[in-house]
């Protein structure tokens, strides 16, 4: 539990301000911890007089941990296509593997996998463990986790990374539980600690309001899901050499108690807002469905996708899969336009890690401007049409020059 050294505590209240769970309060000039403490440690770090500490249970690090070696990434395959995040994982995994001096391997599960294994090698994998079986044509949690578990137990990698996609976030936790090891969700940064080679996994917590660095000290593999679009992929190099290892699982392990009856793709090209480089998002300030059309138009012109705040989704201007924020999706495109979005914290936590944020709002005090790279105070119904018109003009100009 959290220990408070009442002699050292000066009652400054820094811990109280820091606690996301409202668990620590200063009463009579001394910090007091309540029942809601989750032992996250943020107060310990912030205390300037060292009055706070957490009793850590010293666990023995089992000897057999050193038998686990190699960095693995899960190469998600669906609809005859490797998910883009797999290449990003190869980019991140390559750095980790080189630092550790171990091979980088990709795990490819699915049916009719074609030349995918070769593509993974060209993007940085030294080895590809391939399981090509009709039973894996549709994604089911138990069959995918079973096969993956068998591969991990046989080859004992020290690190296993997967994309924080619908599929990754669905079955990787089940896999980690099977392996009785730790898993960190939605990482945005991965690093190797030089002293002992431990994987340091950094992720946003409390909807992105605090960042936490996590380790997995006593069990292997060290597992993490990684947010799409955060890591840089390696470039394609067709001359790279690698080994493809086909694995034939025990048929019993491919059986699932879940049947996929039908898999439906929603044709809207922009539903997966996690993968877009440019997102144009609209909120309440657009006032109507008609107003929201401007957002769609701008997104189309910029080759981006359309996103929305909860207010716009609740108004029925755009369906839920486009919602960004705490109860929607977390995105980090290269450019994020926030049009008529005031910037409720629930929205901001879903987009604040975007590379560049452009905010347009009538209210100069709107919180969105605190996270905006470029802010414009003004009337959306003047600015957006003008912007759209100017981009159009420049396009036709270019076309005319060709």
């Amino acid at each position: 539990m959290l220990k408070i050294d009442v002699e050292a505590c000066i009652g400054c209240g820094l811990c109280e301000d820091t606690c996301t769970f409202g668990a620590i309060k200063v009463e009579d000039s001394v910090a007091v911890v309540g029942e809601t403490c989750t032992l996250c440690g943020s107060c310990v770090d912030v205390c300037e007089v060292g009055a706070l500490s957490i009793d850590t249970v010293e666990k023995n690090v089992p000897d057999e941990l050193k038998d686990w070696a190699g960095v693995w990434i899960y190469a998600e395959y669906r609809d005859a296509r490797i998910a883009p995040v797999a290449f990003e994982l190869l980019g991140a995994g390559r750095k980790l593997a080189d630092q550790l001096g171990v091979p980088l391997s990709a795990v490819l599960l699915g049916s009719a996998l074609g030349e995918s294994a070769e593509a993974l090698i060209a993007h940085g994998a030294d080895q590809v463990y391939r399981v090509d079986d009709p039973a894996l044509a549709n994604f089911t949690d138990d069959a995918y986790a079973n096969v993956f578990e068998d591969l991990i137990r046989e080859h004992q990698p020290e690190i296993v990374l997967a994309g924080a996609t619908a599929i990754g976030r669905s079955f990787i936790p089940r896999l980690a539980t099977m392996l009785a090891t730790g898993l960190t969700a939605d990482c945005t940064d991965l690093a190797i600690r030089a002293e002992d080679g431990a994987l340091l996994q950094t992720r946003p917590a409390f909807g992105g309001n605090i960042m936490a660095t996590i380790e997995c000290p006593t069990t292997r593999p060290q597992m993490a899901t990684v947010r799409p679009l955060v890591m840089k992929p390696n470039s394609h190099d067709g001359s790279r050499q690698g080994e493809i290892i086909d694995f034939t699982p025990d048929p019993a392990r491919l059986q699932s108690r879940v049947r996929v009856l039908r898999s439906v793709r929603e044709e809207s090209d922009e539903v997966n807002i996690n993968e877009a480089d440019v997102l144009v998002a609209g909120g309440r300030g657009l006032e109507s469905e008609k107003g929201f059309e401007m957002v769609r138009e701008l997104a189309g012109l910029l080759g981006g996708a359309t996103a929305a705040s909860r207010a716009a989704v609740d108004s029925g201007w755009i369906p839920y899969p486009h919602q960004v924020g705490q109860t929607g999706k977390t995105v980090c495109p290269k450019v994020y336009f926030a049009c008529g979005i005031s910037g409720a914290v629930q929205h901001m936590v879903g987009m604040q890690s975007s590379d560049t944020i452009i905010a347009i709002n009538r209210d100069e005090n709107a919180p969105i401007f605190q996270v905006a790279t470029y802010g414009m105070v003004g009337d959306l119904f003047e600015i957006l049409p003008k912007l759209i018109e100017r981009i159009r003009e420049s396009r036709t100009g270019e076309a005319g020059n060709r």
């Binding site: 996590i214 108690r257 839920y320």
Partner: protein, 259 residues
Amino acid sequence: MKIIVCVKQVPDAKDVRLDPKTNTLSREGVESIMNPFDRHALEAAVVLKEQYCGTVTAITMGPPQAEETLRDAVACGADHGVLVSDRAFAGADTWATSYTLAKAIEKLGEFDLIICGKQAIDGDTAQVGPGLAQRLDIPYVAYARKITECVDGTIRLERLMDDGYDEIEMEMPALMTVVKEINEPRVPSLKGKMKAKKMQATVLSAADIGAAPELLGLQGSNTQVVKVFSPHFSADKCMLAGTTDEMVDQLLAKLDKLL
């Protein structure tokens, strides 16, 4: 049909504000609420109960005041609340949490379906649901957006994927996590509120569920927090000024460099 809904008490993000000067979180007056996704899980369970008869038990792991969330669940249609609470649970990561909940659910006896929200808004990990399914060795589907029917020990549903949806059939007992698209949670009825007032939650301690102490809380966690810090926000903030035309010009120049 016996349905268990896992709920979590979380700080209400609606009350959380970013302090514009320090860019830190201001939590003044923040209330605890039921995790919003769990509200949809509860509603899904209550709708199933209304369609197929049965009971809905809300279970939560947390400090004693998490009982409020169980009361809230009963007000919205749950029949009973179970509070799994012990000092020994503090500091649990998702691995230790799924262990604790699994032990408690085993203690409660047979069930047909467990429904969880897709994730909690404080941790955002989305790991406890799948971990719990694995520990109980039952089939599991994440991101249910629609329950079609429930017949002869199987449940049919739609699972939301990144690029569309899958129609799924799953044998019960089973576990699913739900997205908010699945329903519109009801507000508590007067009758529900009365029932909530009278509700006596079943309280289970570590000893009650027969949990191994070394697998609980901070000690039972496979992951450890190395450090916690504030995210840095964009350093080069720039407000564009001038007439609409001038602002659009400046923005286009910036965009040219970015895209």
